[in-house]
């Protein structure tokens, strides 16, 4: 067999070592993921240590070690007040975005009249970045807290809306599914409830996951607005006061919280769709 022939040319112990290594590191998916993180931080630390400066300058970039030290200092202080402020802002902003995004998305995808009345202004507002909303948010909302929630809302709302619309439209476009309903005697309400909504659930789920990431993404923007607490506020304030390691800490914390909550959302949505199976190349 081809396999045994090729092995005969290299020393047996080398092949075995290679096999063991690849079994240890590459066969296990969680190990592979861990390795990716180790490599990422390792390379970053290395670039900081050698003061890498080819086009990109690492001289003032805090190293992972310094960021870690800043994190330890931050955690031993009073971190909870910052976490709570940020998490609550994302919670409310994202919560409203999920409700309005899915609700309006389903209506717009389902009904042409509603689409005509709602979609053009929404499409006009969609490309406006969260930063550009800051002045208006200050003018429009009574408290800076509600302004910040509004900006996280903006970040999460549009991806949820657009994915939901696409999901509904592609389900309606699947002629067989709609016909299945029709020849079972389904009225539009049944087609909506039993076919269109579950059919667009995968799209809605991806919209909700992306929206969650975007909500965190817009948090820094929102917390520039005002306030004395919040992870994004901390990041911005550290920059203003030229205290660099906490910037990286703040960024990583936002990344971490964002990744975790997106993961939680996608797991939650998967639990709603037991019929889905996804097989990937290993």
């Amino acid at each position: 067999m081809a396999v045994s022939v090729s092995r005969a040319y290299s020393p047996r112990w080398l092949t075995q070592l290679g096999n063991t290594l690849s079994n240890l590191l590459l066969a296990n998916r969680s190990l592979r993921r861990l390795l990716a993180m180790v490599l990422f931080f390792g390379i970053w630390q290395f670039l900081c240590v050698i003061n890498f400066n080819v086009f990109v300058d690492f001289q003032f970039v805090p190293s992972p070690a310094k960021a870690l030290a800043a994190t330890i200092k931050f955690m031993s202080g009073n971190p909870w007040v910052h976490f709570r402020s940020s998490i609550m802002r994302v919670f409310w902003g994202y919560g409203f975005a999920a409700i309005f995004g899915v609700f309006l998305g389903v209506l717009i995808g389902w009904c042409a009249v509603i689409e005509d009345f709602l979609l053009p202004p929404l499409e006009l507002l969609r490309p406006i970045p969260a930063v550009a909303w800051i002045p208006l948010a200050i003018l429009m909302f009574p408290t800076s807290e509600s302004g910040m929630i509004y900006i996280t809302f903006i970040g999460a709302f549009f991806p949820i809306l657009v994915s939901t619309i696409r999901g509904v439209e592609s389900t309606l476009n699947d002629m067989v599914l709609v016909r299945v309903g029709q020849c079972l005697g389904a009225k539009p309400w049944h087609i909506f409830k039993d076919i269109v909504v579950p059919g667009s659930l995968p799209s809605i789920a991806s919209g909700l996951t992306i929206g969650m990431g975007n909500a965190w993404f817009c948090l820094v923007t929102a917390e520039i607005l005002a306030g004395r607490y919040g992870i994004g506020y901390l990041t911005w304030e550290s920059y203003v006061t030229s205290n660099y390691p906490p910037i990286v800490m703040g960024m990583l914390l936002i990344g971490l919280l964002g990744a975790f909550s997106s993961w939680a959302v996608s797991k939650g949505m998967e639990a709603l769709m037991p019929w889905r199976v996804i097989k990937k190349q290993s």
Binding site: V176, Q182, C183, G185, H190, P198
Partner: protein, 271 residues
Amino acid sequence: MTTQIEQRHAVKGAVRVEGVSMTFRRKGHETHVLDSIQLGIEPGEFVCLLGPSGCGKSTLLNVIAGFIKPTAGYVMVDQNPVMRPGADRGFVFQQYSLLPWKTAFQNIELGLKIRGMAKGDRTELVNDYLNRVGLYKHRNSYPHQMSGGMQQRASIVRALVNSPSVLLLDEPFAALDAQTRHMMQELLLDIWEDLKTTVIFVTHDIEEAIFLGDRICVMGVQPGHIKAELPIGLRRPRHFDDTLSADFVNMHRQVFECIREETMKSMEKGF
């Protein structure tokens, strides 16, 4: 066990296709797909629409189902003109068409639920049918957990559970392997012998049409028309051995001759 399955509906299910023509217009280009089709089907009859690709047999079935409106003519089912799709005409699609987010049981139950049948009644009826086609132990499986044959069995039952006047099947076994296909054909005949629902079965497989049908309507191309109606006199109930009998082989030859010319034309057109 209650045997609602064994009720016979031979009194309903008369289908009349009156001068149905169909022209598709796309980008200013007209395609004449069906040319004044005339067809009468008795209650309880099993009719096969047989023809090469592009003869409009699926289009005709879609018109009967009410999915598309004919350019001219009309279809009557039991004195009612067909205006739109409805539960009185069960449909089995060629591609697997179970709703992926419902289990086998929920898929089959859907029509009864829409009709507003009480939960206890519909559970009993659906379980009856699931048993009938050997799917009871798979009733909680999602479609992706079922083989193609199982999915098509569930699709057939999903249509039949609503006791339709007519069962319309659009090449339902075309995607299955040969062994499974034979088993499905026998299974379909078996159920039909019990229910005596009118069946209109579209296929391009000559053997399948002869094995199943009381009558074959051979369709021709350019534009689609009914070229010949051949009654199949083979005894019932039929078993797969019958496909080897001299009568069957003769029939096969006869149908083959009839359809060959149309297939050539269809190939020239590039189907």
